[in-house]
């Protein structure tokens, strides 16, 4: 792990060299009153002062809809075309927040749980993450309560901490980060000895993960689930904007004798998610689905995959139409 300094003009030059190298660069841009990740070619397109993007960056390693394989039937024979990992282009994610970068770990844990998912792994291999530490937060953020922080390096290949002079402290974390530095090595100057923590927002932890975990392990039959979930309308917005939610659906896109099998996003909050073909639904009520969401993130994933399924980015609370505030819910469980 190396720490360097990069000036304002250095950042501009480095950005240009990344774009010129042919890699696809995605960055947050102002789009229709929101901040969304879009493909960019110029540094000027990148959005400035904001707390968080509306959608997470998980679509870069777990696309909203992806072809698993395609097939063509001809005279009784089936020609199968499998997913080709070489078709994934080199991608660089610019100005990702630490909470989003931290989301790659739970995602990869799920996609490599019982067998390695070759699509996901191909995406991860071709993706580099340049994160920017956070100088701002709002009332929905709680990364510090889930083993994260505004300057956390987990999941980042390089992290920039912006300085008042327009330059930044650059922490080069992984070999992928070094490869990016190598695109424009002269702009990375010696570390000026700046203390990174001075430029991070102060975000006190709101609950203790251990306490929550202990309480949750005893709370399966509690009435708290029904109380908390009454206003939930089962819309799926929380799962779709979450950087770690990985529930998926497999669908067929068939046109006569050709077709594709497609994997797309799903949500445990949907009633249909667990509906059996017999008509039985093990999670019939919204309260059961709400319980599943919280237990999955804060109890099952830590137990089975050794990783918390939540990075404290707060998107679910911001996106929820009826203010299902996960921070509020978890703190109230911890307080019980």
């Amino acid at each position: 792990m190396e720490t360097k300094y990069i000036s304002k003009s250095g950042i501009e030059q480095w950005f240009k060299s990344i774009v010129d190298s042919g890699k696809r660069v995605y960055a947050p841009v102002n789009s229709r009153d929101q901040i969304e990740f879009k493909r960019v070619k110029n540094l000027s397109e990148v959005a400035d002062e904001y707390v968080q993007t509306t959608q997470s960056i998980k679509a870069s390693v777990y696309p909203k809809a992806e072809v698993l394989f395609s097939y063509e039937k001809e005279h009784g024979k089936v020609h199968l075309t499998d997913f080709n990992p070489d078709s994934i282009p080199e991608t660089v994610l610019w100005k990702v927040h630490p909470c989003d970068a931290a989301g790659f770990k739970p995602l990869s844990a799920i996609f490599n749980w019982d067998s390695p998912d070759k699509l996901h792994n191909a995406h991860v291999q071709k993706t580099s993450v340049i994160s920017f530490s956070c100088a701002m937060a709002d009332e929905s953020c709680f990364c510090t309560s889930v083993n994260g922080s505004p300057g956390n390096l987990a999941g980042s290949d390089i992290q920039l901490t912006m300085l008042p002079d327009g330059g930044a402290i650059a922490e080069i974390v992984t070999p992928k980060g070094e490869a990016l530095v190598a695109l424009s090595p002269t702009v990375f100057e010696a570390d000026k000895g700046e203390d990174k923590t001075k430029y991070l927002v102060d975000l006190p932890a709101r609950f203790s993960l251990e306490e929550v975990n202990a309480k949750l392990n005893k709370a399966f039959n509690s009435t708290v689930w029904k109380e908390q979930s009454e206003r939930c309308i089962g819309c799926g917005a929380c799962a779709f904007v979450c950087p770690t939610c990985a529930c998926f659906d497999i669908q067929e896109d068939v046109h006569g004798s050709t077709g594709r099998r497609i994997r797309c996003w799903d949500a445990c909050g949907f009633g249909l998610c667990t509906l059996h073909t017999s008509g039985h639904n093990p999670r019939e009520h919204q309260s059961q689905r709400w319980r599943q969401r919280l237990l999955h993130k804060f109890s099952y994933m830590p137990a089975r995959l050794n990783v918390v399924g939540c990075t404290g980015c707060g998107r679910c609370s911001r996106a929820c139409p009826v203010d299902m505030n996960i921070l509020e819910h978890i703190t109230s469980i911890a307080a019980q």
């Binding site: 696809r24 493909r39 960019v40 809809a65 072809v67 896109d253 594709r260 497609i262």
Partner: protein
């Protein structure tokens, strides 16, 4: 000197069995010639025509659509075409608002006796659509999967 290729539009016609289909049959038996661009899909009644079928035709490469059935008061099932008419009024308005080219959908009433009306209808529709050109706007995005265009590249 190469000759200019004339664009031959692909037209799908959704017709009712009792009136328009019979009318089209009469066109044939009367030996009236009309444009061959149309593929006819037969329904028991216009009331059965789901509005999404029209959109799916566009998605699969149709440049124009004809929807035709019995005249009001002549429906074989009494009121199917009245329901269809209501549905078309609403659908057309929504399509127009969303920017779909409603000129490419031609609605009509053609009875079983109107063989020449069917021929005229098809010929006129083909000429109109030919003038409008292929529906590339729709067909460009019609693959049921996101493409590069979603990545802010197009």
């Amino acid at each position: 000197m190469s000759s200019e290729e004339i664009f031959e539009p692909k037209i799908v016609a959704f017709v009712c069995n009792w009136c328009t289909y019979a009318g089209a049959d009469l066109t044939g038996t009367s030996r009236l010639k009309y444009a061959t661009n149309v593929k006819i899909v037969r329904f028991p009644c216009t009331g059965r025509i789901d509005f999404l079928l029209l959109l799916k035709s566009f998605a699969q490469g149709a440049d124009g659509i004809i929807v035709s059935g019995c005249h009001p008061n002549d429906c074989h099932y009494t009121s199917g075409n009245f329901h269809a008419r209501r549905r078309w009024i609403a659908f057309r308005s929504i399509l127009d608002m969303m920017g779909v080219d409603v000129r490419r959908v031609q609605y009509s009433w053609v009875s079983a006796a109107e063989g020449s009306k069917w021929a005229d209808l098809v010929n006129n529709t083909v000429a109109d659509i030919r003038a409008l050109g292929p529906y590339t706007d729709y067909q460009k995005v019609a693959d049921y999967l996101e493409k590069e265009v979603q990545d802010g590249e197009a």
